[in-house]
């Protein structure tokens, strides 16, 4: 673009401290008008914090912000919006029980009212950028990709000239990512500026005009995509060489550990009555096998896990663990029976945030040694064992009496992994085990899963990170609309081919075509094709 015009956004010397963490330290960033500027960095590097500062949601402790060459000071997002800055957050900022229209006009009612004018304007924007949103749908009825579009719509509706997209692709499948990038290019063509955050380096290299790397809260490099490779970029991010999930020595045995047959689940809710969530799900995991389950969020994976762990009761089908029918067992008995569980949302399902570490060590295993004897808790033993876990799993904490909330996400996750592994599970259900965890801890968790697998553990792995899924699994399945629609061999499959099956475009056995088009093998449904491997 025009080199002489002032940068769209100029951040200088930004420092932001949180209790215990310096999230940003003396950050400098200059974003040219009409470009896509990518910011990369590992988890917890301080990217979101920086963007929140630019968007007025956090106040910097030090440093200045300039928009279009003029220095500004934002006291809340309203000020930033008034300056033409819009942000799509890493976590959706949508009110489920309000309609798309209401979510969109919220806070900017003065622009076009909240009635028909607003609706017309939304249609107009939606059509102009091909977003395809329905203004009167309730947000809770939308899928992730649609929600993503609503978020973008919200920003455009406010007439933003600078868009911040914080990890917009994390929950999208590759095809959806492509569609999003088309949108971004269109926006750029119109002269808008986009700040784009991701740690998926391939994406970044394909869409960005400039790249800034942040490590441990500070800018370490500014590069052009043409000048770097993904590997170089990654090493800039991490400050060291990358570990990899790829290790292939099969430990799969012939003994089935978990057998799921025709599992069916129908949801009843007040909103729309009966609805099929799981439809005849059938699969087997053998001892020493990691079965990876791919799928876009919301296609029944969560419910499948909940049915396996016993939080939900299936309407039909059987679950067999090591030859025993556990279909009618309550959660506690299943856990005592050797199911370990790393939940996808550790804050909601894995931890008592305001309780101490040793109490969190008891959670989920209160009936088992060393936590209790008879009806009594054995606090001394539980504490001792917590010390052991902290040491063995490298949980970084000054002690076991601090609350779980005061640990960082990665360390919380290590505690959970340690806890679940300490009860010698026969089956481990691991949902997004490394989500929000930094590279070091990630490798450690992978190692632990592999080590347990060697000793005969069966693992059901669910992850949105396709590299992790492919790298760790012995077998891959794809779940779509509550059914297992495809399977693949992780040794040969590509993320793209997997992605197309996740959108329902392909089914059956996915062939190992290098750039996996969606030409599916047989039209075998997951239900039938499940048992043949």
């Amino acid at each position: 673009m025009n080199a002489s015009s002032p940068p769209a956004v100029e951040l200088a010397g930004i420092t932001k401290r949180f209790p215990g963490v310096v999230a940003n330290h003396d950050i400098h960033l200059s974003v040219r008008k009409g470009t896509v500027h990518a910011i990369v960095g590992e988890n917890g590097a301080g990217k979101s914090t920086l963007m929140k500062i630019l968007y007025g949601m956090q106040k910097p402790d030090e440093g200045t912000i300039a928009v279009d060459g003029r220095e500004v000071s934002f006291s809340d997002p309203g000020d930033a919006i008034a300056r033409g800055i819009g942000m799509v957050h890493q976590h959706f900022m949508l009110a489920d029980n309000l309609t798309v229209l209401e979510n969109t006009v919220l806070g900017s009612e003065k622009l076009y009212g909240i009635g028909s004018r607003a609706r017309a304007r939304i249609k107009e924007i939606s059509d102009a950028y091909g977003l395809g949103v329905r203004p009167d749908a309730l947000v809770e009825d939308l899928g992730v990709a649609d929600r993503q579009r609503v978020e973008i719509l919200k920003v455009l509706y406010r007439g933003a000239r600078t868009l911040i997209l914080d990890e917009p692709t994390a929950v999208l499948v590759p095809q959806e990512v492509d569609a999003l990038f088309d949108n971004l290019r269109e926006l750029k063509a119109e002269g808008l500026t986009v700040i784009f955050i991701s740690h998926k380096l391939g994406e970044v290299l394909s869409v960005a005009d400039d790249i800034t790397v942040i490590r441990r809260g500070t800018t370490v490099a500014s590069v052009k995509p043409a000048d770097v490779t993904a590997k170089q970029l990654a090493e800039l991010m991490v400050g060291a060489e990358l570990p990899s999930p790829q290790t292939r020595e099969s430990t799969v045995t012939d003994t089935p550990m978990l057998q799921v047959k025709d599992l069916t689940l129908t949801g009843h809710d007040a909103v729309d009555g009966a609805r099929t969530i799981l439809d005849g799900v059938t699969f087997t995991i053998r001892k020493g096998e990691v079965l990876g389950l791919a799928g876009v969020e919301g296609n029944g994976q969560t419910e499948l896990i909940e049915a396996l762990i016993g939080i939900r009761h299936a309407d039909g089908g059987t679950i067999t663990l090591g030859g025993e029918d556990i279909t009618s067992w309550p959660t506690r008995r299943r856990r005592e029976g050797g199911i370990g569980y790393i939940p996808e949302d550790r804050h909601r399902h894995g931890l008592l945030l305001e309780s101490s570490l040793w109490e969190n060590r008891i959670l989920g295993h209160v009936t088992e040694a060393p936590n209790s004897r008879g009806p009594w808790l054995d606090i001394r033993a539980a504490r001792a064992d917590t010390e052991r876990i902290v040491a063995e799993y490298d949980v970084r904490t000054p002690g076991i009496d601090v609350t779980a909330a005061s640990l960082s996400g990665g360390n919380q996750q290590k505690l959970i992994v340690g806890r679940e592994m300490s009860h010698d599970p026969r089956l481990l259900i691991a949902a997004h085990p490394t989500r929000g965890v930094d590279v070091g801890a990630q490798a450690q968790i992978w190692d632990q899963i592999r080590a347990a697998r060697r000793e005969g553990l069966a693992v059901l792995l669910i992850s949105a990170d396709l590299d992790e899924l492919i790298g760790l699994s012995d077998t891959l399945r794809v779940m779509y609309r509550g059914r297992l629609v495809a399977d693949a061999d992780p040794a040969t499959i590509t993320p793209e081919a997997l992605g197309s099956a996740m959108t329902g475009a392909a089914s059956g056995h996915l062939e190992d075509e290098p750039r996996g088009s969606s030409s599916a093998g047989g039209r075998t449904e997951g239900r039938d094709g499940g048992e043949d491997r």
Binding site: P77, D79, L94, L138, R275, E306
Partner: protein, 422 residues
């Protein structure tokens, strides 16, 4: 308030066309008509003509107003995400301030000051819950205690020294004035007195709504559609509701969540205060210690009953006012008739449950219906002790039948801090 158990998530890739099945207007009319026919039949069978008389409806309306106002107070606060169990205290402040100003400067000033008094209680609640992040229920309980102490204390400095007042009671307040729609009211009363099938019942129900209406009642009733309009049809209302659904999202769009919570809780207190003023000025014409008698809690119940919607809470308050009015107006016979009505309704519910293949529910309903019928057949009047429980039992029963469809604002009762959202 309720700890929701795991709720199924919608499957992402299947946008559902019809999100929520609502009854159409025609279906509603049909349901209402059916109900009226049933009530009328029960009335004719039992001879309890009181159940749909003009007086009954008009009493029900008067008893429902303070509950409805308290409920509206609850609605405004909870729509913005603040649970308000301090409604009772705000109601008490409303009675005191309403009477204190009413005695000196006339009833309308009293109403205004009642609202101000309630809003002060709301302000305190907002300071505690919004600024200090105190548990909403705890703060509400504290406000209830404070309101009792403060009004008693204040009374001994004010009313005790007034002519005709004591430390527990204010002097009489001038009437706020009431209207009766001329002609219509009499005509409906005449029709009602004929005891015709359905016609008289409708006349009775309508008649009650146009007879001896206090001006404040009209104002209060108007607050229901007004609240509905403000909350759902204005930008202000949208912002306010967004604070109860997802305050972080609201914050991210530049909504000052604290401000809206403050406003909402103060309006909430204001409505409760108006309810208090109604109690002191219309329901009776004096302030009396203990006058509110737990109506704040009942209002809260009416609001939950009404699914956090103005129309629903009006229905809840109406149900409560109606059963309470039955109790106060020759309760024994009326409630006896209600037993029959309830038995018939339960038979219908049982049939519906069996049709929906919910056999257990069906069986429970059927057995309860049978018990009620036996009770109905074996006595002529229900003992007064049970009659006085009728409003509470009715509320509990209706809730038991409908509670699972309720949905409260998602962030209701959660503490919110600016800049700490994920």
């Amino acid at each position: 308030m309720s700890t929701a158990l795991a709720k199924p998530r919608p499957a992402a890739q299947q946008p559902r066309k019809t999100a929520r099945r609502r009854l159409t207007l025609a279906e509603w009319m049909l349901v209402i008509a059916g109900f009226l026919v049933l009530v009328s039949a029960v009335r004719l069978i039992t001879g309890a003509h009181g159940i749909t008389s003009v007086g009954q409806t008009s009493t029900a309306l008067r008893l429902a107003v303070p509950i409805g106002l308290a409920g509206l107070g609850g609605l405004w606060a909870e729509r913005a995400g603040v649970i308000n169990i301090g409604l009772e205290g705000m109601l008490i402040l409303g009675t005191w301030f309403g009477a204190w100003a009413g005695v000196q400067w006339g009833p309308w000033t009293g109403v205004v000051m009642g609202i101000v008094g309630g809003a002060l209680g709301g302000l305190l609640h907002a300071i505690a819950t919004v600024t200090f992040g105190v548990n909403h229920i705890v703060s509400g309980v504290a406000i209830n205690i404070l309101a009792v102490g403060a009004t008693r204390y204040l009374s001994s400095f004010t009313f005790e020294h007034m002519e005709g007042g004591t430390s527990k009671q204010s002097p009489p307040i001038e009437s706020i004035g009431q209207i009766t729609v001329p002609g219509v009211s009499d005509a409906l009363a005449t029709l009602n007195a004929k005891h015709w099938f359905v016609v008289s019942d409708v006349a009775g129900l309508l008649g009650g709504l146009v007879t001896n209406l206090s001006l404040l009642t009209i104002v209060a009733v108007a607050m229901i559609p007004l609240s509905r309009w403000v909350l759902w049809n204005t930008g202000f209302g949208l912002r306010l509701r967004s604070c109860g659904e997802n305050p972080t999202a609201a914050e991210s769009l530049g909504v000052n969540v604290y401000k809206y919570k403050y406003i909402a809780v103060m309006i909430s207190g204001g409505f409760a205060g108006m309810g208090g003023a109604f109690l002191a000025e219309v329901a009776s014409n004096i302030y009396l210690e203990g006058q509110t008698g737990g109506r704040g809690y009942i209002g809260l119940a009416a609001m939950i009953f009404g699914n956090w919607m103005p129309g629903g809470l009006a229905l809840g308050a109406g149900l409560f006012g109606y059963t309470d009015s039955l109790n106060l107006r020759g309760g024994g016979q009326n409630v006896h008739a209600l037993l029959l009505l309830l038995a018939i309704l339960l038979v219908l519910a049982a049939a519906w449950a069996v049709y929906r293949k919910k056999y257990l529910t069906g069986a429970v309903s059927a057995v309860t219906a049978a018990v009620l019928f036996v009770w109905y057949a074996s006595v002529d009047e229900v003992p007064s002790q049970f009659v006085s429980a009728a409003p509470y039992v009715a509320t509990l029963l209706v809730l038991a039948m409908s509670a699972q469809r309720l949905r409260m604002p998602k962030a209701n009762g959660k503490s919110y801090r600016k800049g700490e959202g994920k």
